[in-house]
Structures are given as C-alpha cells and as structure tokens.
C-alpha cells in the first residue's frame, strides 16, 4: 500500500525560502528594471543616514519608495506630501522582509495643474514667512555702476539686456552664466545670487550694485527652476537689490515675489536698471539754465528794487532846503533879537540906576536919622511917665497901719475880758460831770454781779464761757467757779482737774 498517492506537481522542484525570495527578486528586478509610476506622495521621511523614504499611493494601493543618499541630489524634485508625481526607477524586492519597493531615482511633478498647486503651496509658505512683504524690499540704485546679470550667456536674453543698457546708459556688466532650465537651473541660479553677494566691492571681481536674474519665455516646466524655493530664498536674502525678469509678461514665477522689483521682460529689466543718459544730460543742462535764470532774476529783481528805492529817495537839495531856510530866518533874526534884548535890559537897568543916585540916598538917610532922633527923644519921658503914674496910684491908696493896730488892741482887750469867765465856767462843768460819773458807778456796782457774789452767789465758767446749766457743766473738761473772794477750779465727774495758771482777770465781766 502506498503511503503517498500521486498528486499533480509532485515532481515540481521545491524552493527554500531564500531560493524563492531570490527568484522573486530576480523576476521583479529583471522585469521591472525601469518603471515610471504615477501617484500621490504620501508620508515622506528623510532619514538621518541621508536616504529618502516615501510612499506613492492611489485610491487602492500604496507603494513604498526609497532613494539612496547618493541618488537624492539627482532626484529633480523633492517629493512633498500631497504632490502628484511621476517617479522613475527600478522595482526592488527584499527577501528579508518579503516586501517590494520602488528605488526612485527621479521624481517629477505630474502635469501642469499639479505644478500650479505646488507653486500655490510654496507661495503661501513663503508669504507666511513674510518674504513677499514690500517693507523688506530694497530700493534700486538710481544709477548703478556695475550690474550683475544671472542668466545664460548665450541667447537673446543677455543680448536684449546689453543692447537696452547701451541705449540708455552704458554700464559695466558682469555675467554669471547659469543653466536657465532643467534640474541644474535652480541650484545654479541660487548659487549665482549668493556668489555675487559674496564678492567685495571694488575687488578684482567687483561686487555689482544691482542684480538682474533673467530668462526668456518658455513653458511652465522650462521656467520651473525659478519657482524653486532655493531660488526664491536666495533672491529674498540678497543684499544687492535684485530685479527678476523671467519669461514673458504673463509668466510669474516664485522669484518675482521675493525679488526687489519684477520686470515683465529682460528688456524691461534693463530699463528699470538705468536711467536714460541723454535725459539726464538734458536735465543737467536744464538745471544749469534754471540756475542762470534764477540768478538773473534775482539780480534784476534787486536792481529794480534799488531803482525803486532811488526813485523815492528825495534829492539832497530838497532835504536841505527847509533847514537851510530855517537857518536863514534864524540868522536874520538873531542880531535884531539880541539888540532888542540888550536894549530892554539896559532900560530896566537905567530905571534902577536912577533910584540909586547918592543924593537920593543921602536924603533918605537924613530923613531916617531925623525920625530916629525923634523917636529916641520921645522914648525917655514916655518911660518915666508910666512909672510916675503908677507911683501916684499907689500913694493914693492910703495904706496906713494905725487903724489896724487900734483894731487889734480892741480885740485883744475883749479877749482878755472873756478868758476868766471861760475858765470858771469850764471848772464848774468838769465838777458836775465828775459827780455824775460817781453816781453812775455807784449804781453800776449795786446792780453788778459782783454785788450778788457778796450775797453768796457764784459764777461758773468753762474757760471763757459762762456755764448756766447742768448739761453744759457736765460736758466741760474743767470748770472755774468764782466766789466773792476768789476763784476755784473744779472738775466735773471723772474729769481730772486741770491745773491752771492763776491769771488775774480784770474784775469786770458780763452782767450775767
């Protein structure tokens, strides 16, 4: 009995895993050694090793792609997520992980629409960085000495520029030759812009003071290099003012947004670069003419003003006429006025002088003398007369002492007669008064309390106070009893008798 039944394919050779992996790999790499794959870029990873990994996808499948480090620079377009691209390369399969992938050596943006979409994305990005802002754009020099042109050294573009420069204002031009299309374009243009900036002013290779980046018209793919970020950034970073002139009027590339000025054509770039020399010569001549005219005007204006001033300036004679007349008048009047004044003064003087003649003075002195004598003569008698009159009046008053003496004597006699009478009357009155006093004293003694003491009564005192009741006696510290023949100190119940100096009291007390 057979353990193994015959089954179809039994005689087919058996592969080891490695064998089959190797076979697949050979098949794939042999059959698909060059493919172009179109798809949308998915995840993109640039590894630290320098190798690039990205996915290509459509609505159903995903294809892994990788580009080795050495191949990246030749890729053409760096794949960006979302970009529609055509990738070229060969298919590879890895036996190690049972996977296949595309080794992409070129990547190109697929189709114009996709290119424009990518351009829009870049524009947004650079605009967000502020690279398009007017404020960062540099003014172009009015008349550059050296113009650097980044373009192809062959072709119409450089000729157009040079011709137009020569027409307007011949200048020194340095051409930095670059590829203006293809993969080399963007890096070369960017490098040229940086290279010009790196030159030193006035060196063996003098640094230009204006740059023109130019290219003629072409398809969007032809112009694509000027849409690359490195070119746009190099233009934005240029310290030398930069004019972009890429394509024809309607072609606008990314560099046009970051350049300091966009020219619609290379010829227009030359026109922006320099002014027209003949115009400037004409202008300079015009300035000269204006200066001459201005100076001329200024001088003639001043002349006219001077003339006007001279016209209104009065003649010297006219100015002097009036003062001269006044002088004449004064000159005329002066002697006359002087004479008159002197005469008037002289008249006045003689008037005074007349009064001052010596005869007149003498007469006057005489008169005065006479009057003085008269007065002095009258003065003596007048004085004595007053005294005499007063003496007479005094005498007339009869002031004699005899009557007064008589009167005094009479009154003295009267007084002497009265004096004895007065004495007698006074003595009698004194005696009467003494009698009366005695009688009164007798009466006083008979009714005085001392008389009652003689009859056996006594007076009780507490200090100076007369004690008249038992209550007062009890409360007193000590008592003094007066009898008709003296005083005794006693102490009421319990109170020690207080020794008391016997002071002789006047025998006169209260009636009670």
């Amino acid at each position: 009995m057979d353990l193994f039944e015959d089954t179809p394919g039994d005689n087919a050779p058996e592969f080891s895993v490695s064998e089959i992996a190797g076979t697949v790999r050979r098949l794939i790499e042999g059959e698909l050694s060059y493919v172009r794959v179109r798809g949308e870029v998915g995840r993109v990873t640039l590894a630290r090793s320098g190798h690039l990994y990205f996915d290509l996808k459509d609505d159903k499948s995903v294809l892994s792609c990788m580009t080795w480090k050495g191949q990246v620079s030749g890729l053409g377009t760096m794949p960006e997520e979302g970009m529609e691209v055509i990738a070229e390369g060969k298919m590879t399969a890895s036996g190690f992980s049972s996977k296949f992938a595309l080794n992409a050596v070129r990547v190109a943006v697929a189709g114009e629409g996709a290119l424009m979409a990518m351009l829009e994305k870049r524009k947004k990005k650079l605009a967000a960085e502020g690279l398009f802002e007017e404020a960062r754009k540099k003014p172009l020099p009015y008349l550059p000495e050296i113009i650097g042109v980044v373009t192809s050294p062959q072709g119409a573009v450089i000729r157009d520029i040079l011709h137009r420069l020569r027409d307007r204002f011949p200048r020194k031009v340095l051409i930095w030759p670059v590829a203006v299309q293809g993969e080399a374009c963007a890096p070369q243009v960017a490098n040229a812009i940086r290279g010009f900036n790196a030159l030193t002013p006035g060196g063996a290779l003098p640094r230009p003071d204006l740059l023109i980046v130019a290219r003629g018209g072409g398809s969007i793919e032809d112009l694509w290099g000027f849409n690359e970020e490195i070119v746009a950034r190099a233009a934005a970073e240029s310290d030398i003012p930069l004019i972009s002139a890429v394509g024809h009027e309607t072609d606008i590339t990314l560099i046009d947004f970051t350049s300091d000025k966009r020219a619609p054509t290379p010829t227009a770039a030359a026109e922006l670069a320099v002014p027209v020399r003949l115009d400037l010569m004409a202008w300079t001549d015009a300035q000269e003419a204006r200066i001459s005219r201005a100076i001329g005007n200024s001088v003639s204006r001043r002349k006219e003003k001077l003339r006007d001033l001279i016209r209104v300036l009065p003649r010297a004679d006219a100015l002097l006429n009036e003062p001269r007349q006044r002088l004449d008048r004064a000159d005329d009047a002066l002697p006359r006025v002087l004479r008159q004044t002197v005469e008037r003064r002289a008249a006045k003087l003689s008037e005074f002088a007349r009064a001052l003649r010596p005869a007149t003075l003498r007469t006057r002195i005489k008169t005065e003398e006479t009057r003085l004598n008269e007065w002095s003569r009258r003065l003596g008698p007048a004085l004595t007369r007053g005294v005499d009159r007063r003496r007479d009046r005094l005498n007339a008053l009869h002031l004699r002492s005899a009557p007064i003496t008589q009167k005094l004597e009479r009154q003295y006699k009267d007084f002497n007669a009265l004096a004895p009478k007065l004495d007698a009357a006074f003595t009698i009155r004194l005696a009467r008064a003494a009698e009366k006093i005695d009688a009164l004293d007798r009466l006083r003694r008979s009714i005085g309390y001392e008389e009652t003491l003689k009859r056996g009564y006594s007076v009780v005192r507490a200090g100076e106070t007369i004690v008249t009741g038992a209550e007062a006696a009890k409360s007193a510290a000590s008592l003094e009893i007066q009898f008709k023949d003296g005083r005794v100190s006693v102490t009421p119940d319990g109170a020690a008798p207080k020794p008391k100096s016997r002071k002789k009291k006047p025998d006169q007390g209260s009636l009670f």
Partner: protein, 80 residues
C-alpha cells in the same frame, strides 16, 4: 546746504543736491551773497553730474570659474 565734497558724491546725490540748489535759487528768498555761493555750488554739482554722465562706459565681462566652481576671473564678452 550739504557740505559733502561734491567729488565724492554719487550721481544721484549730486543730482538731488543740484535740484536743491536750483529750488533754493528759484525761491528767490536767498540773500545775494548766499545766492552767489549757491550758484558756485550749482556749477560744481552740474560739472560733477556731467562728468558722471560722460563716464558712461560699456564693459561686459563673463565670470569664469575654477575647478571647484568658484569665480576665478572674467572673460570679455562682445555685446554685439
């Protein structure tokens, strides 16, 4: 009045200085002595401008590179 020596001026500076001189003179309010000075300066500026304009010289050269791609020198270009 800018005191920068005229000989050191760029064409543009000389131009605007000349314009300034002309405007001042045309304004007519400059004292006579100053206007003479301005006139002299204007003449100097004008001469400088004309010199700069006369200096216009066409010279076209293309940059050459060494083996490392660095600019090395120039080679004349016939612009015709």
């Amino acid at each position: 009045m800018s005191e920068k020596p005229v000989a050191e001026m760029s064409f543009e500076d000389a131009m605007s200085a000349l314009e300034g001189v002309v405007n001042r003179l045309e304004a007519g309010d400059v004292p006579l002595e100053d206007s003479i000075k301005l006139y002299e300066r204007g003449a100097e500026l004008k001469a400088h401008c004309q010199k700069k304009l006369a200096e216009a010289e066409e010279k076209v050269a293309q940059i050459t590179f060494d083996e490392n791609g660095q600019p090395k020198g120039t080679t004349p270009v016939d612009p015709a």
